[in-house]
């Protein structure tokens, strides 16, 4: 306990210097937090996506149409619990820059198990009852001030049977989605109504969503579906939502090398700067350390007090830096929706701070511990 005032006065011996070191460490760990958070956060997001929901699409491209007729054949694959046909198209609301993604689904049976949506049961019931019903993603409803019961006109490139490209839907509810892909400005409509009303491409879907009865069967089901349509005019490619997320977010993974280099550079620069400062300040304190030793402080005690000073500054600064990173993280996370700061990054950051403090204080602390009293008091 008696060491505490000693450590404290050591820190405030040169306030300007301590504050500068504090800021330097703080800035370095803020950057570390954001970059490492981005990298680890993406990896965690991929891990959270569902491996038991499959997406069956044409093997050429994600948006190449498949015939609806494949539905029954996919359903008959053992292990398949639910198959939902999905059609996607773009629409605009009022002005061309207010774009919406329209997702047409067939809400049969346990269809929700093939999606990551959360929808209140009464909305689902209303959605099934009304052909022109639409369920709006919560954020979009808020953005345009839409309420349940509203009749919303949309403009699309997909023409109706009448040749008109105007579509209108009745809002029956809102939903939230825990999936990270697919954009956030979306609404759900009934596939059967849409398919009947449209002019061209009738009876086709963009993809099928498949939920498997047992996650362990996912790989076998994937292979079996693709095998059934191999060498047909409609070859399919079946992927789990996790694989899909992986390939979508792969691009950020490609930045790993750059992120690693930068984090490395930051830590090296920081270590060098702080180690130099510590050495400098220990040298300046030689006479004081000599007095301490004369009073009976052992070499170990002096060693520990220097180390503790560095630890205090580093831990406090790293904590504020990582806190800052958590605060500004939502800005960086704009690139990847749904990203949040993983706690592990904060923990690793703190461990790094302790390590950095130990490294940068090691040489000065050893120097101080070995100090010869006579030489120190003479200021040599």
């Amino acid at each position: 306990m008696k060491f505490l005032p000693l450590i404290w006065s050591g820190i405030w011996r040169k306030p300007g210097r301590s504050v500068l070191i504090f800021l330097q460490v703080c800035v370095a760990f803020a950057l570390f937090g954001v970059l490492q958070g981005l990298k680890t956060g993406v990896e965690q997001l991929i891990g959270q996506t569902r491996a038991d929901v499959l997406l069956v699409h044409g093997n050429l491209a994600l948006f190449d149409p498949l015939p609806l007729a494949l539905l029954e054949q996919i359903k008959s694959v053992p292990g398949v619990k639910v198959v939902v046909p999905v059609e996607l198209f773009g629409a605009i609301y009022q002005t061309p820059n207010q774009k919406l993604g329209v997702v047409a689904v067939r809400p049969d049976g346990d269809w929700l198990s093939a999606f990551t949506f959360t929808i209140a049961p009464e909305y689902v019931a209303a959605f099934r009852r009304m052909r022109t019903a639409a369920i709006i993603r919560e954020g979009v409803a808020k953005k345009y001030g839409w309420k349940i019961g509203d009749h919303i006109p949309l403009l699309s490139k997909t023409p109706q049977k009448t040749g008109s490209t105007d579509w209108a839907f009745d809002i029956v509810g809102t939903y939230t989605d825990s999936d990270l892909g697919g954009g956030s400005d979306t609404l759900l409509i009934n596939y059967d109504y849409f398919d009947e009303a449209r002019l061209a491409d009738k009876g086709t879907v963009k993809h099928f969503k498949v939920a498997v009865s047992d996650p362990a069967l996912a790989v076998a089901v994937t292979d079996e579906i693709d095998r059934r349509f191999a060498n047909s005019a409609n070859q399919t490619l079946t992927e789990s939502m996790r694989e899909l997320a992986q390939s979508q977010l792969q691009s950020i993974g490609d930045l790993n090398f750059l992120i690693r280099s930068i984090v490395g550079a930051v830590l090296v620069a920081l270590l060098f700067a702080t180690a130099t400062m510590m050495m400098q300040s220990t040298r300046e304190r030689m006479p004081e350390l000599g007095v301490l030793k004369t009073l009976g402080f052992t070499g170990v005690a002096v060693f520990l007090s220097i180390l503790a000073e560095a630890m205090t500054i580093f831990v406090a600064a790293a904590a504020s830096g990582l806190g800052l990173a958590v605060l500004i993280f939502p800005l960086a996370a704009n690139i990847v929706p749904g990203l949040s700061m993983p706690l592990i990054v904060v923990a690793v950051g703190m461990a790094c701070a302790v390590l950095a403090a130990a490294i940068s204080a090691a040489v000065p602390a050893v120097f101080a511990a070995r100090l010869n009293i006579v030489a120190a008091l003479a200021g040599r």
């Binding site: 500068l20 070191i21 330097q24 691009s251 930045l255 090296v268 130099t276």
Partner: protein, 387 residues
């Protein structure tokens, strides 16, 4: 004159003392090196992207798309295409035909070499005028596709990055085998481009409209006349745009993200380096208190002291800038990164090195300011008595 002489003399004293305090100078050097290196290598991504995007852009290229829609996602009917061929100002090819390329673009799937990662790349159905539209296009192996057949030609970067693009390889598109018949280089472009006959592509994907139309003008100066001819023609609902504007628009988002990330990371690291420099310079000034008080006592003014410390700070930051840019060049120049799905070759250009140097001078200036003021304010009597 006296001011300059005094400053130079003080600077000389200061710099000759650097050797006695190598660690402080090294702190500044390493801090600045890391900050500049990070900034330059991040900016190199943006520069590489830009070089790649703009590499094939020509001033006499014009892209036609539906008014208000993005070219590449337009629907241009065959009726309109006949009208386009008759527009004025279009350059004529060897056989007297107008150099107009009707395009239908779609994305198909490819596998990366080595990792097997899936990536979607564009397959562009084009008319055979494309070889005249793109004079930089040179075949390195094989030949041009034959119209009406299921044949593809690919740029060399495709073959380097993805599997299945060797001559004679086939790919199934809707149950029909398409053969790779030619490989080509296109100037410096590092993009993977796959071309096939537009009619074959359109029938394979059951389309009956083109997604965009590219036109080569007689000269870049004909653009305004051509644009007016397009917009005043009642049979066309199209808009003519410079190729550069189309490409710029396409990559606006990517460029903005790269730019933001580079300056975000660069600024934070520069902040850290500046703090380190301030601390080191404070230490240097502190250790020279007696010396500074002495020169004040023999008549040196505070102005030259401020200047000499600032210049010393700048001179200590400068080698860091050169080292940082150099390291970025050695480590990252030419490296292929693929952020956000685009494949980019990093390019460390002289102008980026210049930005790095400017950045470093900024750090040196800011880092030197406070210590310089402190140096000038050393109270003469106290500093001398403290010795």
């Amino acid at each position: 004159m006296n001011f300059v002489r005094q400053s130079l003399a003080l600077l000389h004293v200061g710099l000759s003392g650097v050797a006695a305090r190598p660690s402080s100078a090294l702190t500044i050097l390493i801090g600045v090196t890391c900050a500049v290196g990070a900034l330059v290598s991040m900016l190199a991504m943006g520069a590489g992207a830009r070089r790649q995007e703009m590499g094939a852009v020509r001033a006499d290229h014009v892209i036609l798309g539906k008014t208000g829609e993005r070219p590449g996602q337009s629907d241009i009917s065959k009726d309109e295409s006949a009208v386009i061929l008759g527009l004025p100002g279009i350059r004529r090819g060897d056989a007297g035909e107008p150099i107009v390329v009707f395009e239908s673009m779609t994305f198909i799937e490819g596998r990366k070499r080595g990792t097997g990662t899936r990536i979607y790349f564009p397959v562009v159905g084009v008319t055979s005028t494309v070889t005249q539209y793109l004079p930089e296009l040179r075949f390195t192996a094989g030949r041009m596709f034959h119209p009406g057949l299921h044949e593809l030609i690919v740029s060399n970067p495709c073959a380097h990055q993805f599997t299945g693009f060797e001559l004679g390889d086939t790919r199934l598109i809707h149950g029909v085998a398409w053969t790779i018949e030619g490989r080509f280089d296109q100037g410096q472009a590092q993009e993977c481009v796959v071309y096939g006959d537009v009619d074959s592509i359109m029938s394979a994907f059951k389309r009956n409209t083109y997604t965009s139309v590219a036109v080569m003008l007689q000269s870049a100066a004909d653009f305004d006349a051509f644009r007016d001819a397009v917009s005043s023609n009642p049979a066309l609902h199209l808009e003519a745009m410079h190729e550069s504007a189309v490409v710029e628009d396409e990559f606006k988002q990517l460029n903005a993200i790269l730019f933001f990330v580079a300056y975000f990371v660069g600024s934070i690291m520069a902040l850290g380096a500046t703090l380190g420099a301030v601390n080191s310079l404070y230490a240097i000034v502190d250790s020279r208190r007696g010396e500074l008080a002495t020169v004040r006592a023999i008549g040196f003014g505070p102005g030259p002291i401020v200047v000499s410390v600032m210049v010393e700070s700048l001179l200590l930051a400068l080698p860091g800038a050169l080292l940082g840019s150099g390291l970025a060049w050695i480590l990252f120049n030419g490296l292929a990164a693929s952020p956000l799905g685009y494949s980019i070759q990093l390019a460390v250009t002289p102008s980026l090195a210049a930005i790095g140097v400017a950045w470093a001078l900024g750090m040196g200036m800011l880092g030197g300011l406070l210590p310089a003021l402190r140096a000038a304010r050393v109270p003469v009597t106290m500093a001398l008595r403290a010795r």
